[in-house]
Amino acid sequence: MTFNRNFGQGDKVKAAEAITPDKGWKDLPIGGIIPAAGNAESYETGDWRTFRPVCISEKCVHCLMCWRFCPDSAIIPEDGKFKQFDYHHCKGCGICVNVCPTKAIYFVSEDEISKADSEEKEKI
């Protein structure tokens, strides 16, 4: 059985736009209510990371222990399988690396990744 709680989106987009620090008191929703449920999704916590989990897809058995233990909802499953990491939110805690029973996830320093990225760019 699959279920979706179908939370309405409502005025979410509008509301999120309405609450910006350039707005004066007359233009903000009253009472400190946030009418945009789940809008933290757009907030990046990926930049907290110093190490990045990477999955070796051949080793992954899709047990989803990483999904189960991730404190940041940063494992994106698809149709009951591991699909990818959500690097926008992953804070690099490393729990998924340790709970993976097949050692399919390893940790790479973000330093090395940015180094590799820039080398890649240079090549091009």
Partner: protein, 309 residues
């Protein structure tokens, strides 16, 4: 029994983008528990790490309706929401079915919020109360609570030269809640996720109040290597410090019995907050902790109708 394949297809209630510490036990436990609810849910939260980190204005990580009132009144607040629900339902003003859950840390539950919790449970509101127990006031900077284990070094029970950490053993909150004779009480650990999921499911399904005490380790306050959280949680029940049990309509049931006797120091030694206990002059405290863990375990066996080992 649901499996992870199926459960992972459910919509997340707590989105990413919240600002709990990397590797925080709260995030893990909260996601697991909310994974067990199928109806729309209203979440109440006591002041604490979970509340602060998930609702930094103008952002909220909650895709459901959420209310934070104050530190000591999460249970009372949700009981008000639930009463409103019952009233509006009764009057035909509301169609949807809702579930209600309140989260509190151990400070907001064992201590300052205890009266509010006890009252709400006694009144029989159809709500789930979850204590995310990390054994200290982590939100304000690791001060001791009545959930803090004996010997732990916290900022208000520091390991000093005369007094080596917290003096008292932890309050047994789950047992106290069981004595409220509410339909469902459980103690759980996210490491045994099936156990926690089942308990959350039962808690949401019973008619009346339910209470779950969940271990939610804090890497900062407990001072362990962040990725090791699963080991920390596993050893907590393997050493019998944090037994997994449930009390369903007054019947106590042990959910997990360790295969072999693991001394509590195996759990203590992984955590910086107990480091000072391993100095020779404090060794007796470890012995006292062990004796208390054994005593409480025996008591639990008796309550659960299990044979003493």
């Amino acid at each position: 029994m649901a499996n992870l394949k199926e459960l992972s297809k459910k919509e997340e209630i707590l989105t990413g983008g919240h600002r709990l510490c990397a590797g925080c036990g709260h995030g893990i436990a909260t996601r697991m528990i909310l994974n067990a609810v199928d109806d729309p849910v209203v979440v109440g939260c006591a002041t604490g790490c979970l509340e602060v980190a998930t609702t930094i204005y103008p952002y909220t990580a909650w895709r459901c309706s959420f209310i934070h009132n104050a530190f000591e009144n999460a249970a009372a607040t949700i009981s008000g929401v639930e009463a409103a629900y019952r009233s509006l339902k009764k009057q035909g003003k509301l169609k949807e079915n809702f579930k209600f859950i309140a989260f509190g840390g151990d400070g907001g539950t064992y201590d300052i919020g205890f009266q509010s919790l006890s009252g709400a449970m006694e009144r029989g509101h159809n709500m789930v109360y979850v204590c995310l127990d990390n054994g200290a006031y982590m939100n304000t900077g690791i001060q001791r609570s009545s959930a803090t284990p004996r010997g732990a070094d916290t900022t208000t029970s520091p390991a000093g030269t005369v007094i080596p950490g917290k003096q008292q053993f932890r309050k047994d909150l789950a047992a106290i809640m069981a004595d409220h004779h509410i339909p469902y009480v459980a103690q759980a650990s996210p490491n045994n996720w099936k156990d926690l999921y089942n308990k959350a499911k039962k808690a949401f399904e019973v008619d009346g109040p339910a209470f779950i005490n969940v271990m939610a380790p804090c890497p900062r306050g407990w001072r362990y290597n962040t990725p090791d959280i699963a080991d920390i949680m596993r050893l907590a029940y393997e050493t019998r410090y944090w037994p997994l049990f449930e009390v369903e309509n007054g019947r106590w049931k042990l959910n997990y019995k360790p295969k072999k006797y693991v001394p509590v120091e195996e759990w203590l030694k992984l955590q910086g907050r107990f480091r000072h206990l391993f100095n020779p002059e404090n060794r007796h405290i470890i012995d006292e902790i062990q004796a208390e863990v054994d005593r409480r375990w025996d008591m639990l066996l008796e309550r659960c109708g299990e044979k003493k080992e």
